[in-house]
């Protein structure tokens, strides 16, 4: 077997590629060729390492040195100085804030303070090489499940682990499986929901791009547990790199005999197909997703019957989110006890957040459930950019709400967040400072929902539109005193009457911002002022209706 003295891992997540990672890799390879050391250096395109803001990233082993913001022009220096002479390039290394100190990979707070279960392989292995996944205990859990365990044992371990659905609702995974397992049906289906649609959220994409086999293995374990032989991965067409990596992974798994008939000499057979979503947010809702796979219009169905009883093609179907599935092999391999040592009693394990907005190091972070927002924003994310102050964080995207400063020490778990009027959601975490207008933020997410509402039920189709009209009125300085009451009344009604989760959660950002930032709404309505200076009222002051058409937001 070939020995490489240097392993150079280039982050090849979609963000880093967009930031110019592609050009760097080519330049690096050219330099290696020029100096005739291609045979000594193993260049690996790996998945997202998390610190997306500093990308493209390059990690060099065995030293474990991380280079940030590498460009094609840096390749020459890295090869000539570091690879040939062993002198790391300080200019490009991760620096301690404001100091000439260079912590090793394990001492950088952004990485050191995370706990990685779901992202255990992201940024460490080549996602297009099944051998590297196998080296990191890949498919070991699957083998254990199908050779040594009965389906019911698998369900019991997952129940015992307390794993809850990471798509947002937090329903206990093992319990969900048992519904489908108890159904007597020849055909059952296992679906992976990779239709990640929340603005600002990209946890699932990073897992698919960085460690696709972990999702495939999770699906197979779930399929074995419920008695399904066929799986579908429903992935957004907007994630071309994730699709490509999944296709490669499925192909390699089939070649290795890990997908197909009589896996590892057992009676268990399983096959996976990819289905591409056409960009409708509602198709992340499980019944709309099922309709979409069946080739029908992506509209939600009435529940009950729940998919576990009658789902895809009328057969018992389990739909799990990408992150949920990526947890499974660790739970089966290391046991429920191992998993439960992380997180809280009712929300065990970890959660991946996509940290975005007004924060120093935005990117992907995985922390134990119950970690405080303060720790995520300040200890891991490096705080708010200089001169600004934290105002609030939005969790759960268009279905969630805000956490204001006074609750920054709240543990992030499935119990504490709903108590504040928000939700865990899939993991989007948008940080806001005093330059963010809360009314404008609420309007942004409501606008998103209005665009994405499928139109099947009246409360969601009409209700959200009327709410948006009121918000547009408020943010252009024409708000009326009764508007806040109207928004609250309508929001509560939509929550009670909408058909699916999209509508039921759509008013959350509005209701939550009213709850914590009512004075900002009042400033817009009564003082005709936007405290953050985002909403513009100037045209109104100058002459009322005549100029209204020119008002821009």
């Amino acid at each position: 077997m070939k020995i490489y003295r240097i392993h150079a891992l280039i982050c090849a997540g979609a963000q880093c590629l967009a930031a110019g990672g592609n050009g760097f890799e080519e330049a690096l390879k050219n330099e290696l060729k020029k100096h005739n050391i291609e045979e000594e250096v193993c260049v690996v395109e790996t998945g997202c390492m998390g610190a997306c803001q500093l990308g493209p990233l390059l990690v060099v082993y065995p030293e474990g040195i991380m280079y940030t913001n590498v460009e094609a022009k840096d390749a020459k220096e890295i090869v000539e100085e570091h690879f040939l002479k062993g002198r790391p390039i300080k200019r490009l290394m991760w620096k301690k804030e404001g100091k000439e100190e260079f912590p090793g990979l394990k001492d950088i707070p952004f990485f050191a303070k995370q706990t990685k279960i779901v992202l255990r392989n992201c940024g460490l292995i080549n996602p297009e090489d099944i051998n590297e996944y196998i080296a990191r205990n890949g498919y070991k859990a699957l083998a254990k499940a199908i050779v040594e365990m009965k389906p019911q044992d698998v369900i019991d371990v997952v129940k015992e682990s307390g794993l809850r659905g990471r798509g947002g609702a937090g329903f206990p995974t093992g319990l969900k499986w048992s519904f489908a397992a108890n159904q007597d049906s020849e055909e059952k289906y296992m679906i992976c929901n990779a239709d990640e649609g929340d603005p600002g959220a990209y946890m699932d994409r990073s897992v698919l791009e960085g460690d696709p086999h972990s999702v495939i293995e999770g699906m197979m374990i779930a399929g074995y547990a419920i008695g399904a032989n066929r799986g579908y991965i429903y992935v957004r067409a907007e994630y071309p790199l994730a699709v490509r990596r999944l296709e490669t992974a499925i192909k390699q798994a089939k070649q290795a005999g890990l997908l197909g008939k009589n896996i590892l000499g057992t009676n268990f057979s399983f096959d996976i197909e990819l289905r591409m979503g056409a960009g409708a947010f509602v198709c992340g809702e499980e019944t709309a997703l099922i309709n979409s796979i069946e080739g029908k219009r992506g509209e939600p169905r009435k529940k009950p019957p729940f998919p576990a009883i009658s789902g895809l093609f009328g057969k018992p179907t389990i739909i799990n989110n990408v992150e949920t599935l990526a947890n499974l092999s660790v739970i089966i391999d290391k046991g429920a006890k191992f998993f439960k040592q992380f997180g809280t009693e009712k929300s065990p394990g970890t959660k991946v957040f996509a940290l975005a907005g007004k924060v120093n190091i935005s990117g992907l972070v995985e922390v134990p459930m119950g970690t405080s927002l303060r720790k995520i924003v300040f200890d891991i994310g490096g705080g708010i950019p200089e001169g600004h102050t934290f105002k609030g964080a939005l969790t759960g995207g268009p279905s969630g709400g805000v956490i204001p400063m006074e609750f920054i020490d709240t543990p992030m778990d499935y119990e504490s967040l709903p108590a504040l009027g928000t939700i865990m959601g899939s993991g989007g975490l948008i940080i806001m400072d005093e330059t963010s207008c809360m009314v404008d933020v609420a309007k942004f997410f409501l606008k998103f929902v209005v665009d994405e509402s499928c139109g099947k039920c009246v409360p969601c189709r009409e209700g959200t539109k009327q709410m948006l009209k009121i918000l547009e009125r408020i943010t252009s300085g024409r708000g009326q005193k009764e508007d806040i009451d109207r928004l609250e009344k309508m929001g509560k009604l939509i929550k009670l009457t909408a058909l699916c989760a999209l509508g039921q959660t759509a008013p959350n950002p509005v209701l939550s911002t009213i709850k914590y930032f009512k004075e900002e709404y009042l400033a817009h309505i009564i003082d005709k002022k936007c405290p953050a200076g985002i909403c513009q009222f100037s045209a109104l002051k100058e002459g009322g209706k005549k100029h209204e058409a020119k008002v821009t937001h």
Partner: protein, 122 residues
């Protein structure tokens, strides 16, 4: 790639695949440090380095990492190679490719220090 037909075959493949990823954990049994200062390179440190890699490859030994570093100041003894194993570091001087192969075979893999070429111990 060939089909994996049993849990045993999967285990074997895992053990094998794990070897080549050892470097990325930074936790290898042996650390080989080659001085790559100007004098070292002039004295043939590149050839020494290549000999180390090829000997490791020949003997299929993956539990070692190779680190390049600057000159230690001992120009007279270049190329200088240090081997860290069992918490002890041994410095070798005037390491030609032939000596390097011997060091890999004796010290790196089997823990037998090649006393003939030792210049210092830590």
């Amino acid at each position: 790639m060939e089909k994996i037909k049993s849990i045993e075959e999967l285990r074997k493949l895992r053990e094998h695949a794990r070897e080549s990823l050892k470097v990325r954990s930074g936790e290898t049994k042996v650390k080989i440090m080659v001085s790559m200062g100007t004098v070292g390179i002039a004295a043939g440190a590149r050839d020494t380095l290549m000999a180390i890699i090829s000997e490791l490859e020949k003997r299929e030994y993956h539990d070692a990492q190779i680190v390049e570093r600057g000159s230690l100041g001992l120009d007279r003894e270049e190329p200088v190679v240090a081997v860290e194993r069992d918490k002890k570091t041994v410095f070798y001087g005037k390491v030609t490719p032939e000596v390097a192969r011997e060091i890999v075979a004796q010290h790196v893999i089997n823990g037998q220090i090649v006393s003939e070429w030792v210049i210092a111990k830590e």
